[in-house]
C-alpha cells in the first residue's frame, strides 16, 4: 500500500508538499514564538502599567522592560523568513 502511494508521487507533488511543510514550519515558528512573547509580556506589561500609573516618570523604563521578550518573536520571524525565502 505504502509503495503504491510512493509510486504515484510525482516530482511536482514532492516539491509542492515540501513547500507546504516549509510554510507550516514558518507559521509554527512565528506562532509559537508569538505566544511565548505574549505570555512573557503579559505579566511584565500589567506590572508596568501599574507602576506607570503610580509614577509617570518611569514610562520609558516600563516600556523598555515590557518589550524585552519581543526578541523571542523576532527570532521566530527571522527563522520563518529564512525558511520561506
Amino acid at each position: 500500500m505504502v509503495d503504491a502511494v510512493a509510486a504515484e508521487m510525482t516530482l511536482e507533488m514532492v516539491m509542492a508538499s515540501q513547500l507546504g511543510l516549509k510554510a507550516l514550519g514558518a507559521g509554527i515558528a512565528v506562532g509559537l514564538t508569538g505566544i511565548g512573547a505574549g505570555m512573557a509580556e503579559m505579566a511584565i506589561g500589567s506590572a508596568a502599567v501599574g507602576a506607570t500609573a503610580e509614577n509617570k516618570d518611569i514610562f520609558g523604563l516600563a516600556l523598555l522592560l515590557t518589550v524585552i521578550p519581543e526578541t523571542i518573536v523576532i527570532f521566530g520571524l527571522v527563522v520563518a523568513l529564512l525558511l520561506l525565502f
Partner: protein
C-alpha cells in the same frame, strides 16, 4: 546641537527694597530658572532664612481662588478660550474689584437658587413616589387616619384577601404590584393583620397631606415642571454670563496668577535682615541682557554674579536646543526621560531616524496621504501641548511614509506605474499575481545594516558621554567598554564575512589564509571579539553575559521589514478580497444582487484599509519607538535631567502692559 542649551549659574544679590522691581524684571524677562533655597534646620542656626512673600500675595491668591471657582461653575478651561483682544493690565486692575464682586455675587445667587430648586425637585419626587400607590384608591388622604374604633391597613399584597369580619376594602391591581387599603373595626385588627400577613402583606405608611392622591400627584408634577423650568432659566443665564465674562475672567486669571507667582517668589529666595539672595540658572546667551535689565531697573544697586558650574554637585536644569523641525521629537525624549545636562541630547538623531524607520515600515503613498490629511485636520483642533507635538510628529512621519511609498512603489497595496526604486515588497497574492515577489534577503540585509549603523552610533555616543561625564580610572574603563562592545559586534561581522558571501555585504571570504584554515579577516575578527570582551569585562564582569544581546539587538531591526511586510500583506489581501473576489466577478454580468455585492465589496475595501491604516500607524510608530528606546538609547542614554522652568509667563494671551 546634540547638547542641551548651555546654562550659566547666577547669583543675584541686593538690598530688600530692590527686591520687588527685580522680581518684576525677572518675571518679564522669563529666563531665570530659580534654584529654590532650602533653609538649614539646625538648632541655633543664624544664617540665611527663607524670605517672606511680598504684600498683596494673600489677597491676590484669594481672588484667584474665587475666579477659579467661577471657572469651575462655568465648566470651561481658560486654556481653551480663544482671546479676541488683549486687555491692558492697568485697566484690568482698576475694574477687577468691582466687576469681580458683581459677577461673583450673581453667580453665587444663581447657584443658591439652582440648588434650592434641585432640592425641591428631589423632595417632590420623593413625595410622588410615596403617593403613587394611593392614587388608584379614590379616597382623600385625610380619610386614612383619625379614627378611634376603626383600624386601617395600607400596603402591598400578593392577592385580594378573604376576610371574615365586617370590613371595607379597596384593592388595586397594577404592574408594579397589588395595593390594598383595609378598614376594619378596631377589635378585629389583630385577626385581620394575621390573615393579611399570611398573603404577604407589606405595610406602606400613609403620606402626610390632604386631598385626593391623584390631585396631589398632578399638583406635585406641575411644581416639578416649574422648578425644572427655573433651573433651565438659571442655566441659560449662567451660559449667557459665561459668554459675556469668560474673556474678562481669563484675563484676570492670567494677571492674578502672575501676581501671585511674583509675590511668592521671595519664598524661594534666601534672606538676611536687609538683603536677599536669588540663586538660579540662565541660558548663556541671555545672561548679558538679563544683567543689563536688572542693572537698569535698580540703577546699578544690585549685584549679578556668575559662578562656575560644579557639574558633580549642581543640578543644572535642562532646556532642549534643537532646530525647529526636530522640536516635536523632544516629546519622545521627555516621555522616556529628559537628558542630563552633560550628556548628548539625541533629539536631532531621533528626529531623523524615527521617521525614516516609520517610512521603511509603512512605506505606502496611500496610507501616507491619509495620515497626512488626518494630521492636518487634527492640527486645527489641537493647538498646544503634547498633543500638538504628537500630531506634528505624525505629519513628519506621513511625509516619510509617502516618500518611501514612492521608492517601494506602493499605493494602498497596489503597485504604482513604476517598478520599485529600492527593494520590492510586493507579495504574490491573488489569482493573477505575477512578478518577482518580495526581495526578502535584500530587505533583511538592509535592516541588519541599519541596525549595525544605528547601534554603532549609539555606542559612539556612549563613548562620548562617558568621556564627558565620568572621572578618573572609571572614565577610561567605561569608554573602553563601549569601544569593546563595538569591537565585539564588528568582530562577529568580520568573522561572518570571512566565511560567507552575503548580498549587499562585503565578501571577504577570498582573503589570504593565515592559520588553521582561517583567513586574515577571520583572525582580525576573532582578535577584535576577544579584545572587546576583555574591555567589557574590565569595566564590569557581569556585563559579559550580555554579549549575546549584540546579536538579538541587531536582528531586532528585522522588524523594520517584518512589520512592513505584514502591512503590505494585509493591504493586498484586502484588495484581493474586495476587488478580486467580490467586485470583479459581478462586473462580468451586472444584476441587482451583483450591484449590492459590489457595494459590499467597496465597504470591505474601505473598512479594510481604515483598519490597516490604524494598524500601520500603531505598528509603525511603536516599533520604531521601541528601536529608539531599547536598541539605541540603552547604549548611551541615562536621562533624568530636571526641566528648565524660567520664572515668568510663557506667553500672555489675554493681557498686555
Amino acid at each position: 546641537m546634540l547638547r542641551p542649551r548651555q546654562m550659566c549659574h547666577i547669583f543675584i544679590t541686593g538690598s530688600k527694597n530692590q527686591m520687588e522691581p527685580i522680581i518684576q524684571e525677572l518675571y518679564r524677562c522669563n529666563v531665570f530658572h530659580i534654584e529654590e533655597f532650602i533653609e538649614q534646620e539646625m538648632v541655633g542656626y543664624k544664617g540665611l532664612r527663607i524670605g517672606m512673600p511680598l504684600p498683596g500675595a494673600s489677597e491676590a491668591s484669594s481672588k484667584l481662588i474665587r475666579i477659579r471657582s467661577i471657572e469651575n461653575t462655568f465648566g470651561v478651561k481658560f486654556k481653551e478660550v480663544v482671546p479676541r483682544k488683549k486687555v491692558p493690565v492697568q485697566q484690568l486692575r482698576e475694574t477687577i474689584d468691582t466687576k469681580l464682586s458683581v459677577i461673583g455675587s450673581e453667580v453665587d445667587q444663581l447657584l443658591t437658587k439652582k440648588s434650592r430648586c434641585e432640592t425641591a425637585v428631589k423632595d417632590l419626587e420623593q413625595k410622588i413616589n410615596e403617593l403613587k400607590p394611593f392614587a388608584a384608591i379614590p379616597l382623600p388622604l385625610e380619610m386614612y387616619n383619625g379614627y378611634q374604633r376603626i383600624a386601617v391597613f395600607t400596603g402591598r399584597i400578593s392577592k385580594s384577601p378573604d376576610l371574615n369580619v365586617p370590613n371595607e376594602t379597596y384593592f388595586s391591581q397594577t404592574k408594579d404590584g397589588n395595593f390594598i387599603a383595609v378598614f376594619v373595626p378596631a377589635e378585629h385588627s389583630e385577626q385581620v393583620q394575621l390573615s393579611l400577613l399570611k398573603i404577604n402583606f407589606v405595610p406602606v405608611p400613609v403620606p402626610k397631606g390632604e386631598g385626593l392622591p391623584q390631585e396631589l400627584l398632578n399638583l406635585y408634577t406641575e411644581q416639578i415642571t416649574a422648578h425644572k423650568k427655573e433651573v433651565a432659566q438659571i442655566q441659560e443665564r449662567l451660559g449667557a454670563m459665561k459668554k459675556e465674562q469668560i474673556e474678562f475672567l481669563a484675563a484676570c486669571e492670567e494677571m492674578l496668577s502672575a501676581d501671585v507667582e511674583k509675590a511668592e517668589a521671595p519664598l524661594r529666595f534666601a534672606m538676611t535682615e536687609e538683603t536677599f539672595l536669588a540663586e538660579g540658572w540662565v541660558p548663556v546667551d541671555e545672561v548679558s541682557s538679563l544683567t543689563e535689565a536688572i542693572t537698569r531697573v535698580t540703577g546699578g544697586k544690585c549685584s549679578v554674579t556668575e559662578v562656575p558650574i560644579d557639574l558633580g554637585h549642581d543640578q543644572v536644569p535642562v532646556e532642549y536646543d534643537n532646530p525647529s523641525f526636530a522640536r516635536p521629537t523632544e516629546m519622545i525624549l521627555t516621555v522616556y526621560s529628559r537628558p542630563k545636562y552633560t550628556e548628548i541630547d539625541p533629539t536631532l538623531v531621533v528626529s531623523i531616524v524615527f521617521p525614516v524607520f516609520f517610512g521603511l515600515i509603512l512605506g505606502d503613498v496611500g496610507y501616507g496621504l491619509i495620515l497626512l490629511a488626518l494630521s492636518m485636520l487634527l492640527r486645527k483642533y489641537i493647538t498646544y501641548g503634547e498633543g500638538k507635538d504628537l500630531i506634528d510628529s505624525m505629519r513628519n512621519f506621513s511625509i516619510f511614509s509617502i516618500g518611501f511609498g514612492i521608492l517601494y512603489s506602493e499605493f494602498l497595496g497596489f503597485k504604482l506605474p513604476w517598478e520599485p526604486l529600492i527593494f520590492s515588497r510586493h507579495l504574490n497574492i491573488g489569482a493573477h499575481a505575477t512578478g518577482h515577489g518580495p526581495m526578502i534577503p535584500e530587505l533583511m540585509v538592509m535592516s541588519i545594516w541599519i541596525g549595525i549603523l544605528h547601534i554603532t552610533l549609539g555606542r559612539v555616543f556612549g563613548m562620548i558621554n562617558h568621556a564627558r561625564m565620568d572621572h578618573g580610572s572609571h572614565r577610561v574603563k567605561a569608554v573602553l567598554a563601549n569601544f569593546g562592545w563595538l569591537l565585539v559586534m564588528w568582530g562577529i561581522l568580520a568573522a561572518i564575512w570571512s566565511k560567507f558571501s552575503l548580498p549587499y555585504m562585503p565578501d571577504l571570504s577570498s582573503a589570504p589564509v593565515v592559520a588553521m584554515g582561517l583567513n586574515l579577516v577571520a583572525v582580525i575578527g576573532a582578535v577584535a571579539l576577544v579584545l572587546g570582551i576583555v574591555f567589557i569585562g574590565r569595566d564590569n564582569v557581569l556585563e559579559v553575559v550580555e554579549v549575546p544581546t549584540i546579536i538579538s539587538h541587531t536582528l531586532s531591526y528585522a522588524r523594520l521589514v517584518a512589520v512592513g511586510l505584514s502591512s503590505v500583506a494585509i493591504a493586498m489581501v484586502v484588495n484581493f478580497i474586495a476587488i478580486g473576489i467580490i467586485i470583479e466577478p459581478q462586473l462580468e454580468n451586472l444584476s441587482v444582487v451583483g450591484v449590492i455585492l459590489m457595494i459590499v465589496g467597496v465597504l470591505v475595501f474601505i473598512l479594510g484599509h481604515i483598519g490597516n491604516t490604524a494598524l500601520g500607524l500603531i505598528g509603525g510608530g511603536l516599533q520604531s519607538l521601541r528601536l529608539q528606546y531599547v536598541e539605541f538609547f540603552t547604549k548611551f542614554y541615562t536621562g533624568g535631567g530636571i526641566k528648565y522652568k524660567p520664572f515668568g509667563m510663557k506667553q500672555r494671551q489675554f493681557t498686555e502692559d
